[in-house]
Amino acid sequence: MTSPITVRELSKTFFDEGRGEIRAVNSISFECHEGEVFGLLGANGAGKTTTLRMLSTIITPSSGSAAVLNHDVVTEAEGVRRNLGFYSASTALYPRLTARETIDFFARINQYPAARVDERVNYLIERFGITKYADSRVDRLSSGMKQKVSIARTVAHDPRIVIFDEPTVGLDVLNALEVQESIRQLRTEGKTIIFSTHIMSEAEKLCDRIAIIHGGRILACDTLANLRTSTGEHYLEDIFVHYVKDPSDPVIRK
């Protein structure tokens, strides 16, 4: 069975007026398995967001290739987007729509079957506990409620792949736990999840496999147990430091 996400020698170079060419992602390769939570762990500026933006077709790779459910991210961008939900803490909702209208809009535009949209919207409203606020405008909701609506709209079209780009950045502890719980629930539904974070504990709790990314390169990619064995370190923080301090010793297992 082919992997739902395959990334081969993917690179991204940006041009900056002052600094010239900047290679944000440098020839990375990995695969995600069906139904797993795959973590991209790295410090700020490591290349996590750039990688996820390429996978979600927001930006195009400079070289290499990536495919989501066999749809190439460059040549079949719409096919990728139909099968993918993208969530980021930095993205917002349309403030002047209600929670219900928001979920309805994302379900329809992301090609969920029109006849079943109402049923899907009602299901998500109930599932994320936003029934009481379903018809309130988003700009009048609390940040916790907005977070729930945001996740609901990400999965409104029932995508097989869900990308979470640093989903808990800027959230308080309770809201961050809610987001983590939502990710767990989505995994139980069989979704394949790519999750980027710089918070070690989050990666430790949620991820089936972890890729340590630093300076645009993947330094290690394996299960937490295998990473522990390879490095002789127990805590993910120590494992991370181990690879980042000595990047000449990459351990990448597919």
Partner: protein, 419 residues
């Protein structure tokens, strides 16, 4: 192009816009109320000022009124708008503004056939309105007096006016009252209509581009399972809808306001006519408004797409707003003719088309050229917009600068990245 997706995106934009106070104000309330209100205020102000000016007495000093024409002095005295004064140094008083005019009478130099003929000299200060008005009033009074005096004398001698006045100018206006009204409307309405089309497009254009970035919803738009051209078309149609709506609402509001405002002015001048535009001009006006809405929306969206915040968007779009006003200022000159050359100039051509249509004039070849030119401009703007969407740094909002800076930057480094 997927019509279903465009419809979903368009309705989302429209729904959001109709819940935004700034957009509702700029595209709906302002067109309905602002310009009619300004017109009302201007009319009321003008009426008030002219009333004040009519009530203002002119302070006049008469010097050496010929005794044979004492009747003229009596007429000055009995005029409620003239206050006769006697001062020591009239020149100084006029300069100081305490006297408005001095009238000096002299006997006619050469021997005149008319007994008790005279020459009058008015001294006044043209730099002061009140003094200028006084001069006009005096001149009018003397001319009226002289005309009546000549008629009276001629009558006594049994001579008709035609006999003693060999040459005079008589003018005859062949236009109907309605044509005169439509001529006035033709000068006023196109300017207001174009201003409103631009005003109606401005906020939606910024909101749908820079506003999305500022609200951090742009990245979400980029991950929607539809093509970017569908997103672009839906946004464009939304902005054009708001612009077109604003233009039409304003046009209707203006016609209603002008009906109430111009009717009394015309009736005061003995013209009993209702303010209206020809019914057959409506399709031409709608077509022109639609073309202008599409053009203005496209250009504004292109300019606003370089901005990352609403404020940046406003500063990028505002110059275009000014640019579009300049040709309209030239076109408010009454003598301007709709020619082939003018039909080739965007914005100007539509303004002339509006003006003529309101007057019931249809130069179909020129209208055809106008439509073709506007469509070409819209197509060019759309081409630029679709090309810009291919530039990743612009789409993701990492670029901030003007269109010119962007173009130069791209020429210096690389072409568009494929999307």
């Amino acid at each position: 192009m997927n019509l279903r997706d465009i419809r979903i995106l368009y309705l989302r934009e429209l729904r959001s816009a109709l819940r935004d106070r700034t957009i509702v104000t700029g595209s709906i309330l302002v067109p309905i109320f602002l310009y009619p209100l300004i017109l009302w205020l201007a009319y009321a102000g003008f009426t008030f000022v002219s009333g004040q000016s009519a009530d203002l007495k002119s302070r006049v000093m008469l010097n050496e009124v010929p005794t044979a024409n004492i009747l003229l002095q009596q007429q000055f005295r009995s005029d409620a708008q003239i206050e006769l004064k006697t001062v020591r140094d009239p020149q100084l008083e006029i300069r100081n503004g305490t006297l408005d005019a001095l009238v000096e009478f002299f006997p006619e130099d050469n021997s005149s056939a008319i007994s008790a003929n005279f020459k009058a000299r008015i001294t006044y200060d043209e730099s002061r309105d009140r003094s200028d008005t006084a001069s006009s009033r005096i001149e009018q009074k003397i001319v009226e007096f002289r005309t009546k005096d000549l008629e009276r004398r001629a009558g006594q001698l049994g001579i008709s006016r035609a006999a003693y006045q060999d040459f005079w100018v008589e003018s005859s206006n062949v236009s109907s009252n309605l044509q005169m009204v439509q001529f006035v409307l033709g000068l006023m309405l196109p300017t207001f209509l174009l201003v409103m089309l631009a005003t109606g497009a401005m906020h939606p254009a910024i909101d749908s581009t820079a506003g999305e970035r500022e609200n951090s919803t742009w990245e979400t738009v980029m991950t929607l399972a539809t093509s970017r051209s569908n997103v672009l078309i839906a946004k464009y149609l939304y902005v054009a809808t708001m612009s077109f709506t604003a233009g039409l609402l304003n046009l209707m509001a203006m016609i209603f306001s002008l009906r109430a405002m111009l009717a009394p002015i015309f009736s005061r001048n003995g013209m009993d006519v209702s303010i209206s535009i020809p019914m057959e001009s409506i399709p031409v006006i709608l077509l022109g408004a639609l073309l202008m809405a599409l053009l203005v929306s496209a250009v504004m969206m292109i300019l606003a797409s370089f901005a990352r915040t609403f404020k940046e968007g406003q500063s990028m779009v505002s110059p275009f707003y000014v640019v579009i006003m300049i040709p309209m200022m030239f076109l408010s000159a009454p003598g301007m003719e709709f020619t082939v050359k003018l039909a080739l100039v965007p914005v100007m051509n539509v303004t002339m088309m509006f003006r003529e249509a309101i007057q019931g004039i249809y130069h179909w070849p020129l209208i055809g050229i106008t439509v073709a030119v506007e469509l070409a401009c819209i197509a060019a703007a759309m081409f630029i917009a679709t090309t810009l969407v291919k530039y990743e740094d612009l789409v993701t909002g990492t670029y901030s600068g003007s269109f010119l800076k962007f173009a130069l930057g791209q020429i210096k480094r690389r072409g568009p990245s494929p999307q």
